[in-house]
């Protein structure tokens, strides 16, 4: 335990910067705002590195912490502070590091936007919120970070405030996450009630001999984690969240924020370790999401939506890893995924930018010559995502599937392998439609979507890509190539965290036949996609000629939106109607009225029953009184 002043700085710096940028967003020139916002995140990254060095200096079991506020209720101490152990360090470095690169990229991408200042203020605020989340050492801090992250996401998804679809998307994301949060709060409430403390350690000690409650707590918190991480069945908001600017999609909805659920499950692993059911639930949710996301991605036309479903699928892998006890593999896949998915999104941003706002892959094609830089970096990203050696994705995905196999989850392993094949399929399709072959026609602006401000903003035809946009992509692509080397570091580094509560030693080294199987399935996927959508593929022409939104079971992503519309949205509205219009004030009185009408039918002409309004209120009062009095007279 070591008090470090770096911790509050890491949190406070982006927050202060967000406040300053928000205050001067319309006064300072764009250049100043962009570089100031980016610079602050860079400094935060450096501070995180310093904290990393400090933590290394403490040795294996060391933890950095800092207490902000301490209070006592009824003799019980409560603390609110920050803490850094290897696990949160791992996340913090990615958040600030990748965050910095994406800030840099945004300087170029957002150039000329009228709300430039607001964008950087929000982005800085997000860095603050995410650091707060990963540095929490108790449930209270976790919830605080969790909610702030949700707010940041809300503001950034709806960044194009004049666009109705963006408003709808931000509301959808927020409400879905609110549903998850209710579960999560309930889980935390159960834990706090049962073990009488809000600190992680006390709850971890408590669940050791308490598997029944561990199951309940674990499943409830899984609900929250699944909503934040876009896992089945609470994933519906993620594809719509692509309404935000592309750097936001890269940062929040691919690289960092959506992995908060993975972090929460890894952070609370003793709860899950204590319950076989909860573990299985995590693994199943993950494997099914991996498969469903990959399936849905095969039928999307919007380049960002392909990547969005792909994110859902990849995070599914991370949940699967957590669920089979390979928490290190989950953290590792989080890292490599952050590299290659951010690279892919930023690259997609460059393409959209250069094509003047075009996002439909049916209108692309043959971009290889026009955009050689995007071509090569996208290729690296795609290969890493498919998981071919020696790219980073290979090592991390392989570890996860191997862990599932070694733990005896053969069915989940099979699901994962199928999803890997589909991953290869949709990536090849995407890559081929965008970069190879011939375009159907000259990339004209589609008239249908003229309200999209992202298009308006890029409306001046072909754009040159400035170096501030290219440099981050290059760095991320390079990391996607060599990031696999972290495989040597991850387990020893995180071991002190996961060894504390006697985590099962999960073997993450696959037998050779399994590795061969995974690669073989991937090759099959690539081949199939090439045959269908390659430059001379049989489905390519038909695909490019089709118009409109994707349809069918996969195109609509298993009709989840429609199902929620029917079974959740409509009933809730009906209930609200019921309560708002009939329940109150006719409500509680509505009940009374019902009783009254009943009595009317029975008793005939009792004039007072179709009574006036004040008197109806009075009747409500009297009935309440009678109920209370009966209770006190006979039951106390």
């Amino acid at each position: 335990m070591y008090e470090s002043m770096l911790l509050p700085l890491i949190v406070a710096l982006p927050l202060a910067s967000a406040a300053v940028l928000a205050a001067f967003r319309n006064r300072w020139p764009h250049r100043v705002i962009g570089w100031a916002g980016t610079g602050v995140v860079f400094v935060t990254f450096l501070l995180s590195l310093a904290a990393f060095a400090q933590l290394r200096g403490l040795g294996g079991e060391g933890v950095l912490r800092w207490v902000f506020s301490r209070w006592e209720i009824g003799g019980r101490p409560y603390e609110w502070g920050l803490v850094l152990d290897p696990l949160s360090m791992w996340w913090l470095l990615v958040v600030t590091g990748v965050g910095f690169l994406i800030h840099l990229y945004s300087i170029g991408y957002m150039a000329g936007d009228e709300s430039y200042g607001r964008f950087f203020a929000c982005l800085n605020y997000f860095v603050f919120a995410m650091s707060l989340l990963v540095m929490a050492d108790n449930f209270l801090g976790l919830v605080m970070g969790w909610t702030n992250v949700g707010l940041a996401s809300y503001m950034l998804i709806g960044f194009y405030i004049r666009k109705p679809s963006a408003n709808a998307a931000q509301m959808k994301a927020y409400l879905t996450n609110m549903v998850g949060e209710v579960f999560m709060l309930a889980g935390i409430a159960v834990a706090v009630i049962r073990y009488g403390s809000i600190t992680f350690d006390a709850v971890f000690q408590g669940v050791q001999a308490d598997p029944g409650w561990a199951t309940a707590i674990g499943l409830l918190i899984l609900g929250g984690a699944a909503a934040k991480s876009a896992q089945l069945p609470l994933h519906i908001w993620l594809p719509d969240a692509m309404e935000g600017p592309t750097p936001v999609s890269a940062m929040l909805h691919a690289a960092t924020m959506v992995t908060a659920g993975v972090y929460a499950v890894a952070r609370l692993y003793p709860i899950y370790q204590a319950s076989e059911t909860a573990m299985t639930a995590v693994a199943t949710v993950g494997a099914l999401s991996a498969l469903a996301g990959a399936l849905a991605a095969t039928r999307q036309y919007d380049i960002k939506k392909v990547l969005a479903y792909s994110t859902m699928s990849q995070i599914g892998y991370m949940f699967l890893a957590n669920g089979v006890g390979a928490h290190g593999a989950a953290a590792f896949h989080f890292l490599t995924h952050a590299f290659f998915k951010a690279a892919l999104f930023l690259c997609a941003g460059i393409i959209i930018h250069e094509l003047g706002g075009q996002q439909d892959i049916r209108r692309m094609g043959g971009l290889r010559e026009k955009m050689p830089f995007a071509f090569w970096t996208f290729l690296v990203g795609v290969l890493a995502l498919i998981g071919l050696p020696p790219f980073a994705g290979f090592f991390s995905k392989d570890e996860i599937l191997a862990a599932a196999l070694n733990e005896g989850h053969y069915f989940l392993f099979a699901l994962g392998v199928v999803a890997a094949g589909l991953t290869a399929f949709y990536n090849t399709r995407l890559f081929s439609l965008v970069f190879l072959g011939d375009p159907l026609e000259a990339p004209a602006k589609s008239g249908k979507r003229k309200h999209r401000r992202e298009e308006e903003h890029h409306d001046h035809g072909h754009h040159e890509t400035p170096w501030v946009m290219k440099a981050p992509v290059a760095v991320l692509a390079a990391l996607s190539v060599v990031g696999g080397a972290f495989v040597l570091a991850v387990d020893p580094y995180l071991h002190p965290v996961f060894a504390r509560f006697d985590a099962r030693e999960v073997h993450v080294h696959a037998p050779v036949w399994a590795m061969a199987l995974i690669l073989g399935v991937a090759a099959l996927g690539i081949w199939a996609a090439w045959a269908l959508y390659g430059p001379r593929g049989s489905r390519r022409q038909a695909e490019q000629r089709s118009v409109g939104a994707p349809a069918g079971l996969l195109g609509r992503a298993f009709y989840f939106d429609e199902i929620y519309e029917l079974f959740v949205y409509q009933p809730v509205l009906a209930l609200a109607d019921l309560v708002g219009h009939y329940a109150d004030p006719r409500g509680v009185d509505g009940l009374v009225n019902g009783l009254a009408r009943m009595a009317y039918g029975l008793g005939g002409r009792l004039g007072w029953l179709h009574s006036g309004y004040v008197r109806r209120y009075g009747l409500t009062l009297v009935i309440g009184l009678v109920a209370v009095l009966i209770y006190f007279a006979f039951y106390v």
Partner: protein, 99 residues
């Protein structure tokens, strides 16, 4: 005990007042019914004061009577307001606030 009779009377008066508020449409009568409820309480206070042999209940009853006077003044003022706006007075006419 004689006191029990008084208490029963108080309870009956209280209930009568409550039912009256619910049944009568004129705010004037409603006000009178409310007064009946209050005075039922007063009767109970005085009865109990006699039972316990201390003055607290009687003081309370006097306080209530004073407050009731003020209450009636305000109630009547509000009803006069209502009268000025309408020909006749009926609490059921007053229902533009709802929902």
């Amino acid at each position: 005990m004689v006191e029990n009779g008084y208490l029963a009377l108080a309870a009956v008066l209280f209930a009568l007042g409550g039912v009256g508020v619910l049944l009568r449409r004129s705010p004037l009568i409603s006000l009178m019914c409310v007064e009946l409820m209050w005075n039922a309480a007063n009767l109970a206070f005085v009865t109990f004061a006699r039972m316990h042999g201390n003055m607290d209940g009687q003081v309370f009853a006097f306080l209530t009577i004073t407050v009731a006077a003020a209450e009636a003044a305000i109630g009547l003022a509000l009803i006069v307001l209502l009268f000025r706006r309408r020909e006749h007075v009926d609490v059921d006419d007053v229902h533009s606030l709802r929902g």
